[in-house]
Point group: C2
């Protein structure tokens, strides 16, 4: 849907973290970008070639992907001037910002005038069906978390990478804005109408080869009061054969909910299994992915090994150690 | 929001069942309607006065409420002619049809010309917040079902009626089209954007007097693969203090899902409690509402009494026996 290769727009990013969408694209789809575009005052640097829009077009770029969060919840006049230059140079624009490109008349008019496309991956562009619940062929793995933002996307992408390196058929299925920009397609699940959530996940993960794995990007958490409905729809629309539990062990409360503690991994395992067995009685929890970025190496290894011992399934941090043991567990599944 | 009193539009209803929305309004808000409007060939009759639009306006009616399903998924030319007559007579129009009034240009133009309002209760008219999970004052009861369409709305309305007759402060909180037409407001939850589902339920059931009961209309089922996400958002947005389990004991499979059996009431109790305790550790399952319409009196009573004995909480059919015992259980809660 979004034409590649990309030029990654880093804008006037305050720091590297602000450009995490661009970083994700570079990390997971390194062949997808010809370079980066940085404005004056940009403090992010992906280590890609800095290019003007014209240089990027000459290098084959088709789409300028906004890989940075905007400041203050608006698309600034400075950004708009650059985005218009990009359209004029021949690029489409793709964005996952809350502020939609299509709400900026000056961009819409210019794109129309020049025959360029604007992609707001934050909103659905398709009409999804109501879920049928019918069993599909192929295998599906879903990452479920004790909380939001604990590494579910990273885990799925790391498993996909490891599977592809072993010549296992696998597809990461994006359900959020960053994932969609990384893979070029997917379902922006949090923006789907309630009645069609599970149906959109079925649509995203259709019948496939018996030995093909869909690695479905998780969202929210069954334990997160704001977003648990989205997680539920992923479980029932995704019909996973395998679940990977995701956790960040130093977090003191659920993200955005100071009154809510995180559940234990044991609680998450039991609850997720109850819900997932409704659509697939054979589903198994096969592994645990722990985001140990806030632990030192010794503490991380201690946490992983005690967790693994207690729960009886592999517990790894795919960022530190790769996803090989998770893939081993999925292959054994 | 929707101005009352109503004139109930029965159109060319094939039978009484087709006019079940109008029947619901008449049953639960008998003072809300001045009469009914029937076209040629209408086979439904609520026993209200048949009125022309002018007569209804003279009797005080403010809104024509479409209380009947349309045939063939279109708003027919015959209907449109009548609806225009109604606008001309001075009535607003409210509808829960899938076909929106606002998509019918002839109605939109006429309403605008005359300064009338068109209400499509199937779509949200408000921007809802993301759920905060913050504990609210007042008490909340949610009906959860083993399946869709097992009597959750009826149960909530019956409990509200019984509570009001005892001078207990209570408000039925509508989350579906029929409920919204019955009460004049609510949240059309199945049409809300995923991220805002739980927030819309919080918005619908705000802080209230300590001894006030919100009776939240349930939707879907945790066990229904198509709609479980909606149910989940009701549980986490509603923060219920009390759950009523709803069931239809003769149903052979989940509605619309031939491959899925209904869960047992015991399974539903256990699963709903796990999910509801995440937001309210003190939540209790206080009663069971069984839709026994397909059982004879003896079988119904046998089913209710054996269920009550097994589960240890009151099991009643509020249609046959009223909701008094459910209200007793809620008062004891």
């Amino acid at each position: 849907m979004i034409k590649s290769p990309y030029l990654l727009f880093l804008g006037d990013a305050a720091d590297g973290l602000a450009a995490k969408v661009a970083q994700g694209i570079k990390d997971w789809r390194p062949d997808l970008s010809v370079g980066q575009y940085r404005m004056n005052g940009c403090n992010a640097d992906l280590g890609l070639s800095d290019m003007t829009f014209d240089q990027a077009v000459d290098a084959g770029a088709k789409t300028l992907v906004i890989g940075v969060a905007n400041r203050g919840g608006v698309i600034s006049a400075e950004w708009k001037a650059k985005l218009i230059e990009a359209l004029e140079a021949g690029l489409d624009i793709a964005s996952g910002l809350h502020n939609l490109l299509k709400d900026e008349k000056v961009l819409v008019d210019k794109a129309e005038e020049l025959g360029r496309s604007l992609f707001d991956v934050r909103i659905p562009t398709e009409a999804y069906p109501i879920a049928s619940g019918i069993k599909r062929t192929g295998k599906r793995c879903l990452a479920v978390g004790t909380d939001c933002s604990v590494g579910k996307m990273y885990t799925g992408l790391a498993i996909e990478k490891e599977m592809l390196s072993r010549n296992i058929k696998a597809t990461f299925r994006s359900t959020g804005q960053t994932g969609i920009l990384i893979t070029g397609n997917g379902v922006p699940l949090d923006a789907v109408i309630a009645d069609f959530m599970a149906g959109s996940v079925e649509h995203l993960t259709p019948d496939n080869d018996e030995n093909h794995w869909d690695l479905i990007e998780g969202q929210g958490s069954l334990y997160h009061a704001s977003y648990s409905g989205v997680t539920m729809a992923l479980i029932h629309g995704g019909q996973p054969d395998a679940l990977i539990l995701c956790h960040e062990p130093t977090r003191e409360h659920m993200r955005g909910l100071p009154d809510f503690k995180l559940p234990s991994l044991d609680e998450l395992r039991d609850t997720a299994l109850i819900m997932a067995k409704i659509v697939n009685p054979n589903v198994k929890v096969v592994g645990i992915s722990v985001n140990t970025q806030h632990l030192d190496e010794v503490s991380a290894n201690e946490y992983l090994s005690s967790t693994e011992q207690r729960m009886g399934i592999p517990a790894v941090d795919p960022f530190r150690h790769g996803a090989a043991r998770l893939v081993d567990a999925l292959e054994a599944c």
